[in-house]
Amino acid sequence: MLEVRSLSVYFGDFAAVKKVSFKVSKGEIFGLLGANGAGKTTTIRVMCGLLIPTEGEVQIGDTIFGKNNNGNNNNSAELIKSRIGYMSQKFTLYDDLTVEENWKFAASLRNMNNGIYKKRCDYLNQWLSLGDRTKQLVGKLPSGLKQQVALAAALFHNPDIIFLDEPTAGVSPYARMQFWNLIKILASEGKTIIVTTHYMDEAENCERLSLMRAGEIIALDSPEKLKHSTFPHGIWGLAEEKIPPCLREEKTLSMWPCGLNYHMVTHNLAHWEDLKKQHPILANATLVAPTLEDVFLELVEGRSR
């Protein structure tokens, strides 16, 4: 469905994206996870045909575009524009227009006639918790609702691929959950979804995730596999006051505070067994399930080196 091959984007000498490659199949929810400045937005912009990459290419269906397209009319990047829906991070909707006006505008940019527009409206409205607020100015809507309206605006032309760049930033947890339900409905209808986020809990909803750091993909897998491959020996939790000081110096162990507990990860299983014998207190340690946050901190921030 979508493939990115060895994509690099330079702004001057600065590499915002470095040799990124991945494949996304139809109906998949694919997540790009990374700190601010990791290159998520830049990658999405290239896939939407909004930026010309310095190197590499993007394939959507049979259409290939990349650095050889100079951004003029009739190039392949233009061809895919009728097939994609895009919700940008910086801007979603015009605040001084009503919900309906924003939708109408989005629909007429796609050359949609009134009949189809009405049908799409009804169809999309059934998923949204908008009620009779379609005549309200978007600027007056709560941010969670606004994001839903923006998603709908990106969906009017029934695109195959939907790019969502931090769609839930600044939205309440409940509204985020609602939003993710919409995303799942879309995926179940066969839409391919590429979404960026820096909320770890919602990244769990992605079928596959690519972790980005400084323009590079440093890990790419399903959330479960990522957790497993990052912490093959699990994470051990122990209350802080019980930890003997000498353990803190232990080179084969990384250790970080987590609530009232300390979490520990061993890099050497044999040594871990030795340590257990030396410090009986370690028998009290319990295995905790790693979260994506742990994975992220471990891989992206390089917590334990």
Partner: protein, 368 residues
């Protein structure tokens, strides 16, 4: 090029304008306000400049020259006499200037030489000196025609306009010029801000992710503003006609056509700016420098084009205001037909085509 998309963009822009009345006020009320303000101020300044006349020739020609000053409403001949110290006289008698006609005035005319007259003015009063000099220039032209019966052919047509402003009434001359300057500023500012706003708030990114092409976007953006601009033209026109009693001797259809071409040229220039600028603050500055200043200084509104250095004379050719000013002054003050304005009209049309094309070329379909 898809008309539906262009309409959608125009319609959306119209909604933005409706929701933000400041734009409308700026676009429609401001031009009228400025024209009234400047029109009145300039009108007051230049009437009744008191002068004294020292006629040392006492000939037929010198009396004709004096009668030209009599007829003009700009000057009042407060005193006639003979003064050896003009400067003191100006100070003591509370007059603005003294005209000295030398004793060989008529003799020189008869010999076919250019006669010299001396105009001693109080240079400290700029408000009077500026207009006085321009009227003096007008009188000089009349004098050449009426007194020195050589066939005087001015090099640049715009100079001859004074001849049709028989009474040398400043508002006749200044209000049509003012009209073009004000419309230019308003139209260039409005459009300069509209596309740069889309860059600034990030909505351009969304527009670019749709199949919308540059021409649709540019024309859709210009359309609502050209309608507003035409409304402003209408109001300014009514103000000029009714408020300042300015005659309109030409053809209204040509006038409308000229206004439309003129407005769209500036709207297109504003569009080019807002495509290049990408932020409203920068767009504003660029609009000022590339729109306001040349239009004010180089269009012939303040300084006559024929007296500019050659480089600037050529440069004025790319200014829509230069051509529009020429058309408007012609249409207001002369019974001009198509033959008299076709070349500036054509120039406006060409400038338009070039600008829209530059805008289209400059408009990349990617975010840099």
């Amino acid at each position: 090029m898809n008309l539906g998309r262009m309409r959608a963009i125009a319609f959306k822009e119209a909604t933005h304008i409706r929701r933000d009345p400041f734009t409308l006020i700026m676009a429609i009320i401001m031009p009228v306000f400025l024209v009234v303000l400047f029109g009145l101020a300039l009108d007051l300044d230049v009437k009744n400049i008191k002068i004294g006349i020292d006629d040392r020739d006492q000939s037929y020609s010198s009396r004709r020259l004096i009668s030209l000053f009599h007829e003009s409403r700009s000057f009042i001949i407060a005193k006639q006499g003979h003064w050896s110290d003009a400067e003191r006289e100006i100070r003591d008698e509370n007059i603005s200037a003294i005209l000295v006609i030398p004793h060989d005035f008529e003799k020189k005319i008869k010999k076919g030489e250019a006669p010299l007259i001396q105009f001693v003015a109080d240079g400290s009063d700029n408000a009077i000196l500026g207009p006085a000099l321009s009227y003096l220039y007008g009188i000089q032209l009349q004098m050449r025609q009426q007194l020195i019966e050589t066939s005087f052919q001015p090099k640049v047509k715009i100079e001859t306009r004074y001849l049709y402003n028989g009474e040398l009434k400043s508002s006749y001359f200044i209000v049509p010029g003012l009209m073009s300057v004000v419309l230019a500023i308003v139209s260039i500012l409005l459009t300069a801000l509209t596309i740069s706003r889309e860059w600034e708030n990030g909505s351009m990114e969304l527009l670019l992710s749709t199949p919308t092409n540059p021409l649709e976007l540019i024309l859709g953006k210009i359309l609502p503003y050209s309608i507003i601009g035409m409304l402003a033209v209408l109001l300014v026109y009514l103000t000029a006609r009714l408020g300042f009693d300015i005659p309109f001797r030409g053809n209204h259809l040509f006038f409308l056509l000229a206004c439309f071409l003129f407005l769209t040229a500036y709207l297109a220039q504003g569009t080019v700016i807002s495509i290049v600028a990408r932020s409203q603050a920068v767009a504003m500055q660029m609009a000022m420098v590339s729109g306001f200043l040349p239009t004010m200084l180089l269009s012939g509104f303040i300084f006559s084009i024929s007296s500019m250095p050659p480089f600037f004379q050529y440069f004025t050719m790319i200014l829509p205001a230069r051509w529009f000013l020429q058309i408007v002054r012609t249409l207001f003050l002369k019974e001009a037909g198509f033959m008299e304005i076709w070349s500036p009209l054509l120039a406006l049309l060409l400038i338009n085509l070039v600008l829209v094309n530059v805008a289209r070329k400059k408009f990349k379909r990617t975010l840099e």
